[in-house]
Symmetry: none
């Protein structure tokens, strides 16, 4: 009696391993045979479920994003005060815990590739738009509540997201000048000094 969702199970098993590999060795050095071993299947099985290496990577990037969002679902759905939620969200994205680190490294791979490849470019485009929308929405709600300063929420979101991505890049690169705690304090200071309105600042 075949289990009904063997297929979905196998795919996830492979994608999970793909993210780990991607994070550890990168896109180009990722060998399907290693991925197969890590996923506990044969290399033939990978090709049974995916068109080829390219298709595995594309699916892995999508999977990586969905999984990241999943982890923040509770945070985003709670509908708590926007400003504290923003602080928590930023904090949860710091490349500090293993899962966050892995997820960031996968993103870094995608970005490097999106620079030249249209397919990866499209993936970044759609995932990024979704992420950007979430932050913009949060900022707009904060402005409604009067806890976040005025200004185009999309621009403010771009500033914050840009800063997160840029600083994370240096943290990932292991820069001694940018340990994760400095990234954290720099971002919180940006929120304090630039985004938050007086009442929020009083929290500190």
């Amino acid at each position: 009696m075949p289990r009904p969702n063997v297929e979905a199970e196998r795919r996830e098993q492979i994608l999970r391993a793909a993210c780990d590999e991607l994070s550890e060795v990168g896109m180009q050095d990722l060998r399907l045979s290693d991925l197969a071993r890590r996923a506990g299947v044969s290399s033939g099985t990978i090709h049974y479920y995916f068109e080829g290496k390219h298709a595995v990577l594309v699916a892995a990037f999508e999977f990586n994003y969905r999984r990241s969002l999943e982890r923040r679902r509770r945070l985003l759905d709670a509908g708590d005060e926007p400003l504290p939620t923003l602080r928590e969200l930023v904090d949860s994205y710091l490349p500090r815990r293993p899962e966050a680190l892995t997820a960031w490294r996968v993103w870094a791979q995608l970005w490097a590739e999106a620079t030249r490849n249209d397919e990866y470019r499209a993936i970044n485009e759609s995932l990024y738009a979704e992420w950007r929308g979430l932050v913009t929405e949060l900022i707009a709600r904060g402005q409604d509540r009067g806890s976040i300063r005025d200004g185009d929420p999309g621009v403010l979101a771009d500033m914050l997201i840009g800063m997160i991505d840029g600083l994370a890049t240096q943290v990932l690169a292991g820069s001694k000048d940018m340990p994760v705690e400095r990234m954290s304090s720099t971002l919180q200071q940006f929120i304090d000094d630039f985004l938050a309105l007086a009442p929020a600042r009083a929290r500190h």
Copy 2:
């Protein structure tokens, strides 16, 4: 009697081509034979001047950085008003003109690799520290002149640089939500609203 500096000439010829290739196809897809053709030499010549592919790439990253700085030398050495200089510097780094685009793409390659490889990590570390120092110095001078707000100049530099890098990443990735003009206005707005003191803001 050998031509003087044939070596320096050849090396630069090769490194210039390496940056172009790096920008167009990336580190891993860069084939030495293509690089040779582009540089107008034989593949043997590449190996005559460099230990191997790896050594070419390492030298190319260094070359890319030095060349970028060279282009801004006049700007940095002029000793003009710090705030306008900062604006111009940011503007000159926008991934808009072909040379800037190429340079950014090379950086993107370095970052992706520095995530996992200690040698590239070291290159990023030293080049980044130098760049960070220049911006910090400029901000500190602006604070002395009273045109830039107070606060740890290193932290303010990190915010700006982080934002530049993060936004550039999306521009390079060809995001429709982040055309280079939006990157430009976002950064200038950050400078206006967050870094500049009132007199500077009056410029607008």
Copy 3:
């Protein structure tokens, strides 16, 4: 259901071809692509079964020795009169028949390399010790039977084996002064005049 022992089959198929190539072109001129063609497999298959060229060669030397011994197994196991057995053994090792020639040429390769390379040195060491032991044992048994003269059997074995190897070297080198028949008669004369005791000499 995979064919049983595909692996053992393929390995032998490759090693057999490796000995032939080794004998014809030598270690250094042996190209894996030629070996592949000769073995009737792809170059990829060679690498599937062996770590690399080096590993193929090491295995081939071992294979060559085992195969040589296999051919004399009957002779050595029969337990016949030691002196006639020694004569037959020497005769069977003459580089006269194609298989013997091939085997000798492979040995010649190993020796040339063992002069400088520790790994090949170790192979020669172990195979040679085994071969030397067999001849020593045979001589000792002949001394027990009274058909071979007294003296340290190890030293007598070294004399005989040394002479075989040295003369074979000249036969292999195609020296006109040392055709294989002269090698044969020289060795048999050494056995007659130096090793054999009177009764054995009566055979002639």
Copy 4:
């Protein structure tokens, strides 16, 4: 004022270095650039004096042989008692002193190559014939003096030379079962027990 024999000087300089290289790394791993460095000339100079790598090697083998013979010239020309001279000659050829080791290693290279290549075969042929003639002559003179047993002196020479070459092969291969002292005693015992007549034996 150009020195008259620059040419002869350069050639010897190169050949001397070639023998050393040949002995250390072997024929195939010998790179002309290394040889040039060792000889203290440029790679261009090698090609100026020799047709190519092949021609250097051929000349080096010839040079190696001549130099070996030169070292024994006094021994061979002295016209002393043949049997003691033979003992000394054998002793002088033991791969014990650095020069003898180097010379043997060069021979080993030649033999391995002569197995397959006609040109090297021809070199071995002529050098070997000369060497064989010298030993045969010495044995014949010993027989005339009554110090060496009867029998075809050419066959006796072949036995001795074969044994020398075969045992040397194992010494060169670094066999623990055949240190150079064992090679020495084995050969002297062969001379004592097989070649020498009673009076000579009394010497011990």
